[in-house]
Amino acid sequence: MGFEFQPSDLMMLISVSLMILAVRLLRIASQTRGMPELMMGLYLLLSPPCTSLLMRVDRFAPEYQRMLEIVATTGIGISSLFLCIFAWRVFRPNSTWARIPVVLYSAQFLWSFFMVSTGAIEVDDPTRAITGRVTILLVYCWVFTECLLHHRMLARRLHLGLADPVVVNRFLLFAVWSGLLGVLPGITLLLAFVMNAGGTADQMSSPLFTSVVRLTGILMYVSIWLSFLPPRAYTDWLKRRHVASGVEA
C-alpha cells in the first residue's frame, strides 16, 4: 500500500498499548455484564488505531488514501458513538434528554457514512468534516463536564469518608483525558475555519497541529493509563495523601 515506516511511527505503539487496556476492559465487561465497561472497551479498541491511521493517511499510496480515510473516520465516528453511549449509561441512565445526544449523534454519523459511501460527498467534504468534528467535540465536552461535576461531588464525600480516593481521582483523570481529546477536534475545527479548507490530511500535517497533538498526547496517555490501570505506587500515594489530609478513611 506504499506505506514507508518512519521513526515517528513508533508512536503507534501508544495505540497498541491503549488497545491492551481496551482488551482488559472488555474482559471486565464480560465478567460484570456492564454496558459502560463494554462501551469504554470498544471505544479504546477503535479510537487510538483509527486516529493513528488518519494522521498517516497521506503517507500511503494515493490510490489507497480515500479508502483509508473513510475507514479511519468511520472508526473514529463509531468509537465516539460508544463514548456517547458510555456517558449516557453512566451519568444519565434514567434521563430522557440524555438519549437525545445519542440519537442525534447516531443520525449524524449514519448520514455522513451514507453520503460518503455512496459517493454523494467526498470524505474530506468541508461540511462533513466540520459537522463530524463538532459532534465529536460535543461528546468529549459532555464526558469532560460530567466527570468534573462528579469529581467535585465525590471530593465532598471524600471529606466525610464516604468515597474512595482512587475513584475520586479517576473522575479527575477522565476529565483530563476527555478534555484534552476534546481539544483535538476543537483545533482541527478552528483550522478548518481559519484555513477555509476541509483537507484533513493538510490540516493534520501542519506543525501547529502536530505539536499540540504530541503535547496533549503525552498527557492523555498518562491520564488514560492512570485511569484504567493505575500502578500500585500511584494508588498507595493517593490513599496516603488522603489519610495525611486528616479525613476519615
Binding site: 471486565i28 460530567e146 464525600r157 471524600l158 473522575f171
Partner: protein, 100 residues
C-alpha cells in the same frame, strides 16, 4: 426525579422535631446533601447518617434551632438502618469497576 426514602424520612422528622416548616426542612436537608456531595434521589440511610452527624449541627444552629444535639442524634438514628434502595449502578460504582 423521586427522592430517596432516607431524604424523605429526614425531612419529615426534621419538620416534626423542630420549628422549621416543610419547605424550610426540605431546603435545609437539600443544602446538607449538597455540602456532603450527595443527591436526594440516591442517598442511602448510612450516607445520610454520616452527613447528619458531621454537618447538620452547624446548619441547624444557623437557623436558630434549639436542642441541636438531640435533633441530630434522633435524625441520625432514624435513617442509619434504612436499607439502601438504589437500583442500578451509580457513576462511582462503575468507575470503581473500570480500574479492575
Amino acid at each position: 426525579m423521586a427522592s430517596s426514602a432516607a431524604f424523605e424520612t429526614v425531612c419529615d422528622r426534621l419538620e416534626q422535631l423542630t420549628s422549621l416548616d416543610r419547605l424550610e426542612s426540605r431546603g435545609t436537608v437539600r443544602l446538607l446533601l449538597k455540602s456532603a456531595g450527595l443527591e436526594a434521589s440516591s442517598v442511602s440511610g448510612a450516607q445520610m447518617a454520616v452527613a447528619i452527624d458531621r454537618l447538620l449541627g452547624s446548619e441547624l444552629e444557623t437557623r436558630g434551632v434549639e436542642n441541636v444535639a438531640t435533633v441530630v442524634s434522633e435524625l441520625s438514628a432514624s435513617v442509619a438502618d434504612l436499607a439502601d434502595e438504589s437500583t442500578g449502578d451509580s457513576p462511582d460504582a462503575i468507575f470503581a469497576r473500570l480500574g479492575g
